[in-house]
Symmetry: C2
């Protein structure tokens, strides 16, 4: 039997994790360097950006995971500088960051993972990172997760933490996490960073599989503006200190808890999207395949016309149908229906515009659900996004000017 | 020898075309019904939206072209109502519109083409269309192209006309055209309508090929917001009244003139994009294939981050590199370069941020050129777009509220 309940404590909620967040002077002001240390070597898995222009920390972390066979003791993440498009020098700084951390923690360099977010194309100061690390190591604590979550923020409005407890029989497993948002970044990309910890013990193969499964329906099912950055990274560290080993029989329960934490973080990112005023759940049902369902849901979630209509409280089902029609998935207009909340506005090809006032009233809510049923099969997918406001444009246009 | 020079007169610039624009009461106010008549049956070709949710006039025009074998005498286009997502009733109204026009002009029904733009999902009033047609037929004139261009406007800021003269030896051929913009529409989709006329004589096969070639690098190479509407249509009518027949030897010259008219109209659409303050030319060079060059150019032109940076005058080359990196085309970061105007900001993987102030000054211009060289081959493509302003969001959010 599986019981999952939400918990507090972020990345230090599971046993044997300590964290710190310090001001290393990388950003103009505020905490900008987070350190996460596991008391014991942890099984580690990560999902990285598919962008061809991968930042130096992405390349170095990938290399370390390969060399360690998926074992990590520490993670260092900074905000204020993405260390992307920085050539050989950027790689050197990422390596030196890991080396210094390994020395302080007392572990092999390949057991340190690194991540960065912030400005593209400017150099990350190794001096500042080293200075920050020397203070972070002294401030490590099981009660410092909030500072760590703050230290990875860029234009995020608030730190993002989540945790969940899972009872497997009478044994307790905890999952914790923190993330920073895809609200576009000072001044460059929509970097999304996520760090998830657990005191469960997992074989490396299961850790990778669990992370991939959880990310697919959470972090990879949100979109602010369709961008995918040079630095996007989600990492999972499983240190085993609960004494509970996840195997094939408890795998599904564990993934449930992992998914719960990842979803909380992912939805917090969407709610915190730049200029966002509403959380929009886009579900596509009746698709010919899950791939087509996802494709249509992403296209609708990324449509400027749909996002601006939601922002303006306009129940504009025509825009939703038109996006589905152009996005490359197969369906017949005569079999398609659109629902806002529970209000059916377009049913098997026929408009119900008499319900528009009711739908306009519904759009005053903060959480909006859009469904389009394609009538072409049985597959479904859900994607979360936010509305597009004039504020978004101001934030992304006015930086540096 | 080919000489192409710009001309005036829009769709009635070529011999034997008359037009009218009237107020049929479909829009709240202003001209909303355009009629175009050729004195002789014209070879006709058209390119329609690829959206699955095709509007009734698209379906009816496609059917008429099939039945007539590509011959047309008249085109009717209305603004204020897209006649899309309107089911069997919408088809009936589109057919009756063509029937009434055929009766007034004195031609078979299948020689009438129809187009609509405006609100999706509301019924087009046949009464209003018939009333408008009865007046339009009496106002037809070779000097009425401006009224016709006005009658197809929705949120367009200005009517869009173009024309060009082509000398083939000592023979004169004229091409004319009008279009309405992809600035999003009251209150629904970004319909793009284009109508091009010529007094050249073309075999149907060449007319289709010429239109397709011209559209590919003009109307299909612009993007305001990446949407493709239920109603997008570009039509070409060639009535032969110049006495000049286009054959394989003069085909390239003719396409040159056709492309010139289509490009003028397409760029007018981009400049008139909702909230647009700048015309942005995105060129991708050094791509592995033309398809990849086009894919990268479209991705950059549609990127909210790039478009907001241009709006804000921020020479943010990192966003351009990052979009190229995520859009699925192959290249090495170490071989990529980005130029704004003539200012090289990123060269073979190395930033030149010292040139940022110069680039920021350049971005104060109204016409901005972005180039990314991928260093992966020899293929190139150009796409035109506009910047994204807070005004765009206001226009598309605030309608109907």
């Amino acid at each position: 039997m599986m019981i999952i309940e939400k918990a507090t404590g972020g990345i230090t909620a599971p046993r044997g994790f300590r964290a710190a967040g310090v001001d290393a002077g990388i950003k103009a002001a505020g905490l900008d360097l987070a350190l996460l240390v596991s008391d014991a070597p942890a099984t580690a898995a990560a999902v990285f950006t598919t962008n061809l222009a991968k930042a130096a920390p992405v390349l170095v972390s990938r290399e370390h995971l390969d060399r360690s066979g998926g074992v990590a003791r520490a993670v260092v993440a900074n905000s204020g500088c993405a260390n992307a498009c920085t050539g050989a020098d950027g790689i050197r700084v990422a390596r030196e960051t890991a080396a210094e951390t390994a020395r302080l923690v007392g572990c092999p360099i390949e057991q340190v993972l690194v991540a960065s977010t912030g400005v593209i194309g400017t150099a990350l100061s190794l001096d500042k990172v080293q200075g920050g690390l020397s203070r972070a190591i002294t401030q490590l604590g099981a009660d410092q997760s909030l500072n760590a979550a703050r230290a990875i923020m860029t234009t995020d409005r608030a730190p993002k933490q989540a945790a969940a407890r899972l009872m497997i029989g009478d044994q307790l497993v905890t999952v914790g996490g923190m993330a920073k948002g895809a609200g576009m970044i000072e001044p460059n990309m929509a970097t999304m960073l996520g760090f998830v910890t657990t005191d469960a013990r997992l074989p490396q193969r299961l850790a990778e599989q669990a992370l991939r499964e959880a990310v697919a329906v959470t972090f990879n099912a949100i979109t602010i503006d369709g961008e995918c950055s040079t630095n996007d990274t989600v990492m999972l560290l499983a240190n085993g200190l609960s004494g509970v080993t996840i195997d094939e029989t408890t795998y599904d329960s564990f993934v449930g808890a992992l998914r719960s934490v990842c979803l909380d973080l992912a939805l917090a990112i969407v709610r915190g999207g730049e200029g966002a005023t509403k959380l929009v759940t886009v579900s596509v049902t009746g698709a010919a395949s899950e791939a087509e369902a996802r494709q249509a849901a992403k296209a609708i979630a990324n449509s400027l016309l749909v996002k601006t209509a939601i922002n303006g409280g306009d129940p504009n089902w025509g825009r939703i149908v038109a996006v589905a029609g152009r996005c490359g998935v197969q369906f017949e207009l005569s079999g398609a229906s659109v629902t806002l909340g529970s209000i059916l506005l377009f049913e098997n090809g026929v408009p119900h515009d008499e319900r528009a006032p009711q739908a306009a009233a519904y759009l005053r809510n903060d959480d909006i659900a859009i469904n389009i049923h394609l009538g072409a099969g049985r597959a479904a997918a859900t994607v979360w996004t936010c509305d597009l406001s004039a504020e978004y444009v101001r934030i992304n246009a006015d930086y540096r000017t």
